[in-house]
């Protein structure tokens, strides 16, 4: 099989799940006739018809609300947010309706909310955001943010088959930039399991999404200087795989967290607390983080470059940490 992009892997997951299970339906803005703003759902309407591929008005609250309702009917809707930034429009439906449903009255909401996220493509303040932490802070939700085509496909399948509301972030910078050969047979990747992408003995870099690739590149350069960094890809942010994080920290004794999300309230803070609670005595240095600046995502290329963390930031912070 020829290698496929992450975008194609996501498309395959949706197609295969809709093929496998007629309770899987898709709903969102411009997903049908047009095939989605990024063409993730191209061909879906043609194959599965108007009842299963629902083009909606520009109404994010209606999209998520209707998906919750269809979930109560035993369907498994996949709701697309055209850009994940627009998820703010339906925050109430997600955090108050969907997230609390099972806890309050035992009604599961089997629903996936997916959409393109992240910066690096000059999308400006409203088409580049990483709003994952609003939802990581909401019990009842699951939050997935894959970094590879293989994981994107396998995790999306798991999300569709899950009985809970799952947010699935698709980093748009990675959509067409990474390619991978995928298995021909059906496979899933479990939700809530991080993975060690690169083994190392000197320090642990915990990261996810596009920053996973940045971190790997940085690790290769660091290796030339004799610093062997272990790179842990979270893949799922909620529930957080504390075990894999702690295992790695106990091995390398140093922790660096890298994320594209803004600094204050980013998941780095949570992971630092996890490390302090579970591996304090194993730590040989401060817990450091490389993140985006605490600003909205700016538009113009030099501004966005300044905003986003990059390979050099990772390298210099890792060097600093390695000195302990």
């Amino acid at each position: 099989m020829a290698p496929v992009t992450m975008l194609e892997a996501i498309r395959q997951a949706i197609f295969e799940e809709m093929e496998r299970d007629p309770t899987v339906v898709a709903i969102g803005e411009d997903i049908g006739v047009y095939g989605g703003a990024f063409k993730v759902t191209a061909g879906l309407l043609e194959r599965f018809g108007w009842e299963r591929v629902i083009d909606t008005p520009i109404s994010e609250t209606a999209i998520i609300g209707a998906a919750v309702g269809m979930g109560y009917q035993g369907l498994r809707p996949i709701a697309e947010l055209q850009f994940i930034d627009f998820i703010a429009c339906c925050f109430n439906q997600i955090t108050n309706f969907a997230a609390k449903s099972h806890y309050r009255w035992g009604a599961p909401v089997p629903m996936v909310m997916r959409g393109p996220s992240g910066g690096g493509v000059h999308g400006g303040p409203f088409h580049s955001a990483n709003p994952e932490m609003y939802f990581v802070h909401t019990p009842g939700l699951k939050v997935i943010y894959p970094s590879t085509a293989y994981d994107a496909k396998g995790l999306l399948k798991s999300a569709i088959r899950d009985n809970n509301p799952v947010l699935f972030f698709e980093h748009k910078f990675l959509y067409r930039r990474i390619k991978e050969e995928l298995p021909t047979e059906d496979y899933t990747v479990p939700i809530g399991k991080a993975i060690v992408r690169r083994e190392g003995r000197d320090l642990t870099i915990v990261t996810y999404a596009a920053m996973m690739h940045t971190s790997l590149e940085a690790a290769e350069e660091l290796a030339k200087e004799g610093i062997e960094a272990e790179v842990v890809d979270l893949r799922t942010l909620l529930p957080l795989d504390k075990e894999t994080i702690l295992q790695s920290v106990k091995k390398t004794n140093k922790l660096l967290i890298v994320h594209e999300d803004t600094r204050t309230g980013g998941i780095a803070g949570e992971i630092a607390a996890v490390a302090c609670e579970g591996a304090f005595e194993d730590l040989d240095g401060p817990i450091l983080r490389v993140t985006a600046k605490d600003t909205p995502v700016p538009f113009s290329p030099p501004l966005e470059e300044r905003f986003l963390p990059n390979k050099n930031d990772v390298i210099s912070t890792a060097r600093e940490l390695a000195q302990y």
Partner: protein
């Protein structure tokens, strides 16, 4: 076409309304004894709206109640003990103490979706339930209630617009109880009839005397039939009155005393008792028997509720996620082959018939027709009782005084056809109008000129 009710059904309506009220009174007593945890939201005065609407549904249909729709929950088969224990935060309540009030539901057996406190959010959810049911071939109708205040929310609008574009089998009951907490409806919404909202969505609507359970039932039944026939959503405005404050802590001193007096004279249960007596559907003995049954059931349920303990603390940490504790199952009433390839495959193209060009002459003609005929091109209006009559001269209400808003229903309701007249085989006005199938044609019967947006004293003359 709605069927006349049997005697049993007539008595059912009484039973549920009276049970709703007696339960309300019981909860007030418990509140005063400090047994109710948190706030208590009275249903007083709105029993006919809750019961009459829910009673028009079939067992397979879905509801999502709001805080004052305990009557609907009772019709759907919940027991007073469920509501008592919710308010008392006991472990045997439907939510095991995780939530209170009417915030509970049951997907599989009773088809009840739990509300959340944020208003309007049930509308898109129930639109999803409705189209989900249609997808599965269930031929169900979904119904939810919103208050007058909730019609101001974005979720209400998004949900109604989405339901309309999907022709979803959704009945939306706008329970206009005149007050959104302390703010009168005139200060919430700059139109007199909330049913007018329906025009913006091109869907059918009706206005009903919300304190007349027979009118509520018949109107809802028509709406439900219409939905089930695939004709899209219906919005029913039920004009009623919240007879207490927002919750027990609120003495409702902002409500003019005459307004309470006005509505007390139209108490839904007293009115229905009179109706049952006048139409010889019951006698004093039957009433006594029913009241005794209600007393007995309430007493038993209270005993049960009081015996139920508060939940064990460790329950707080359980059930955040469904880890297989519940199954997600769709109930298919159609062949899955219809929605799977190759049968599901379509040509992915829009059909666009109106090219949207601006034709001045025909636009003006349409506008003038709409202004004169009480509706836009695609607004199909069904009407019960007062709706036709609401084509009164629009009022100037610069400050929307509460006392004034109290006067409007008086005029409307006095003109209303007595409910009893409608069950002697003749067609109700709404039925006649539905038969006409207006289909965009101006309704000839609409005599009084109306100005779009419902404001200002200008008739057609004034506009010119």
């Amino acid at each position: 076409m709605s069927q006349p009710l049997t005697r049993e059904q007539h008595l059912d309506l009484y039973y549920y309304m009276k049970l709703n009220r007696m339960l309300d009174e019981q909860l007030v007593r418990l509140f005063r004894q400090n047994v109710v945890v948190g706030g208590l939201y009275s249903n007083l005065g709105q029993e006919a709206t809750s019961v009459g609407t829910a009673y028009a549904l079939e067992k397979r249909d879905w509801i999502a109640p709001m805080i004052r729709n305990v009557g609907g929950l009772l019709v759907k088969g919940y027991k007073p003990r469920d509501i008592l224990m919710q308010y008392m935060a006991r472990v045997d309540s439907p939510t095991m103490g995780k939530d209170g009030t009417s915030h509970f539901g049951d997907i599989k057996v009773r088809h009840v979706v739990s509300p959340i406190s944020m208003l309007g959010d049930l509308v898109p959810v129930m639109a999803g339930v409705a189209i989900g049911g249609r997808y599965l071939g269930q031929n169900i109708v979904a119904m939810t209630w919103v208050g007058d205040g909730a019609t101001s929310t974005g979720a209400f609008h998004e949900g109604m617009n989405f339901a309309a574009t999907q022709h979803a089998p959704l009945v939306l009951v706008v329970e206009n109880n005149q007050w959104a907490y302390s703010t009168p409806v005139a200060k919430q919404v700059p139109i007199h009839d909330l049913a007018d909202r329906a025009k913006a969505y091109g869907i059918a609507s009706a206005i009903v005397d919300g304190n007349d359970v027979m009118a509520v039932y018949q109107t809802t039944k028509e709406a439900v039939n219409r939905c089930r026939a695939g004709k899209g959503p219906v919005l029913i405005e039920s004009k009623t009155m919240r007879m207490k404050g927002h919750a027990q802590h609120d003495a409702a001193e902002y409500v003019p005393k005459e307004m309470f007096k006005y509505w007390e004279a139209r108490d839904p249960i007293a009115r229905y008792e009179k109706y049952l007596t006048e139409n010889k559907i019951w006698d004093e003995k039957t009433k006594k028997e029913l009241d005794a049954r209600i007393d007995k059931e309430l007493k038993e349920d209270l005993e049960f509720a009081e015996k139920s303990p508060l939940p064990p603390p460790e329950l707080a940490e359980q059930g955040v996620y469904c880890d297989g504790c519940h199954t997600v199952e769709a109930v298919w009433n159609r062949s899955k082959a219809e929605v799977t390839p190759p049968k599901s495959s379509v040509k992915p193209e829009w059909e666009v018939t109106d090219f949207g060009g601006f034709d001045l002459a025909s636009t003006m003609a349409k506008q003038s027709a709409a202004a004169g005929e009480n509706g836009g091109k695609d607004a199909r209006i069904i009407s019960q009782g007062t709706h036709k009559n609401t084509a009164h001269k629009p009022q100037q209400r610069p400050n929307g005084g509460a006392a004034k808003s109290a006067q409007h229903p008086a005029r409307n309701f006095e003109r209303q056809q007595p409910a009893s007249q409608k069950f002697k085989g003749q067609k109700s006005p709404s039925q006649r109008m539905m038969d006409q199938k207006t289909n965009g044609q101006p309704e000839k019967s609409s005599a009084v000129a109306r100005v779009p947006f419902g404001r200002g004293p200008k008739g057609k003359e004034g506009r010119k």
